[in-house]
Symmetry: C2
Subunit: 258 residues, 2 copies
C-alpha cells in the first residue's frame, strides 16, 4: 500500500495489490490493512480512483465506491495495462538481519525478481526467516515500482536440500567471491541464448559460502560463476549489483515493460 | 572503523583509515574515535596487528604498541598492498532522507566511486546535507570493503551551479527515467574508448528531474542518457544499479584490484 512520491497529474497515486480477479464491473473488497490505509492514512474520499493489480489480469482503474468504518468496496472500471510476460529470475540469498533483509526484499522486487528464496548456509547467521515480513516488503515495493506481479516468497531451505531438488532447466548465476577474474557482463552476454529462460542469482552470506558449499554449487551443470571485482561487497550490495547486471544483459532493461 | 564479519585466519580483522603518511618504521596515532574503538569496543591487546591505509601509500600492517587511557601508538611494519590506480567515477545524487543517504554513501563506496557529489534539484526534499555524516559512512564502507581510498565528499551544490563549472572531460551517465528505451549495458559498451577516463553517474531525486533540468543535462556534450527498464526504481536503487553496470563494463570489475 504505497503512494509514489510524485505521479503524473490525473493519474491515481494509490496502487494496491489484491488477490481477487480483476475485470470491468467487478467489485473488490480491500484487505483490512488496505482498508485502514485508504480510510485512516490516506483519507481517500468516496469516488476517488485507485489502481489495482493481482499478478494475473493486468492493471485496472477502480473507484472507491464506499469506505465505511467496517468495510469498503472498490468498483473496477477500466484496464490500464495488460498483463505481460516478465523475466523468470529467482534470488537465492542467505537471510541477514532485520533491516538488511527488508532491504533485500524491497530492492529485489524493484529489480524484477520473480521469486525470493531464502537459503540457509553454513555461515548464515539467521536461523528463522519471517516469510510474512519478506512478503509484505515485496508487495509494498511491487505496488510502488509499478510491477504487474509480486515476487513469490519461497520457504527457507537448507542449501543441500534446495540443490537436491533443483530444476535442471533453471540456470544459476553464482556470485563467487573467490573468482574475481570472471567478469559478470561479458559472461552473461555469452549466454544470450538463455534470454527468456529461467535463471537464479545465488549470493552467499556475509563471510561467503563454505568451500564445500561452493564445490557443490560449482558442480551443477547450468552454473555460471562470476566475480564482482576486487572490493569485498556486502551480501546485499552484491545481490543488487548482480540483479541489475542480469536485467541489463538478459532481462527486460533493453525495452520498456509495455 | 570496522571489523569484517569473517576474515582469512591470521589476517588482522581491523582495518583503519588514517591521514598520516604510512611507511615502515612510522608511528601513527589513531584518532579519538579509533582509539575508543580499539580500546573499548574491540579491547585490542597490545601487540595485536591491524591494517592501515591512507589513500596514498597502499595498505600496511601495524602493531598496537601502546593503548593507554589517554593515547595509543600504532607501529607501521610492512606493506601488504601497493597503492593502485582506481576508476574515477563520481556519483552525483540528490540527497535523500537520513537512512537512505547513509545507505547511498555506503553502497557507492563499496561500488568504488571516487567522489560523492550531493546535488540540489527542483524536487529535492532535503535542504541541508550533513557532509561529515556522509564522510563517516564512506570511510566505514571503505575500511570494510578493502578499498585503498575513501571517496571524496564534495560540497552540496545546486544543479545549475554544478553544471556551470562542470569539467568538460568528465562524461555523464544520466539516469533518465523518461528514456526507458536506451539500454545501459549496450550504451556503455559503445563507450569502451572512455575506459580509464573520468565519468559521473547522475541520478535524480524521488520524483525525477524537472523537465528543464533534464533539458540542461541532455544539452551537455559528453552526456550519455540511459534507462533502467520500465519499473519505477527508487533513487537509491537506480544509483546502485547504474554504478554496478558501469563498473562491470567500464570499471575495474573485469580484473581483480591487485
Amino acid at each position: 500500500m504505497t503512494a509514489p512520491e510524485t505521479e503524473a497529474p490525473g493519474s491515481p497515486a494509490i496502487r494496491l495489490y489484491v488477490e481477487a480477479p480483476l475485470a470491468a464491473g467487478a467489485t473488490v473488497a480491500p484487505s483490512a490493512e488496505q482498508h485502514h490505509y485508504l480510510r485512516n492514512v490516506m483519507r481517500t474520499p468516496a469516488g476517488a480512483a485507485v489502481k489495482l493489480f493481482n499478478g494475473r489480469d493486468g492493471e485496472w482503474l477502480a473507484t472507491v465506491e464506499s469506505l465505511g468504518r467496517k468495510g469498503a468496496a472498490l468498483a473496477v472500471t477500466a484496464q490500464t495495462r495488460r498483463q505481460q510476460p516478465e523475466p523468470d529470475l529467482w534470488l537465492c540469498f542467505a537471510p541477514v538481519k532485520k533491516a538488511r533483509i527488508d532491504f533485500v526484499a524491497q530492492k529485489a522486487s524493484e529489480l524484477g525478481v520473480s521469486a525470493l528464496q531464502p537459503v540457509l548456509t553454513r555461515h548464515t547467521q539467521v536461523a528463522r526467516v519471517n516469510e510474512a515480513r519478506l512478503r509484505a516488503n515485496a508487495v509494498e515495493a511491487a505496488e510502488q515500482c509499478a510491477r504487474l506481479t509480486v515476487p513469490a516468497v519461497l520457504p527457507a531451505a537448507k542449501l543441500d536440500a534446495l540443490m537436491t531438488g533443483w530444476p535442471a532447466e533453471r540456470r544459476i548465476l553464482l556470485l563467487d567471491e573467490t573468482q574475481t577474474g570472471i567478469p559478470i557482463v561479458d559472461t552473461l552476454r555469452r549466454r544470450g541464448d538463455t534470454r527468456g529462460r529461467p535463471w537464479a542469482v545465488f549470493v552467499g552470506p556475509e563471510g561467503g559460502y563454505a568451500p564445500d558449499e561452493l564445490d557443490l554449487l560449482r558442480r551443477f551443470p547450468n552454473v555460471t560463476p562470476v566475480g564482482l571485482g576486487g572490493r569485498l561487497l556486502r551480501a546485499d550490495t552484491a545481490a543488487i549489483a548482480a540483479l541489475a547486471c542480469w536485467q541489463a544483459v538478459l532481462g527486460d532493461w533493453t525495452a520498456p515493460l509495455d
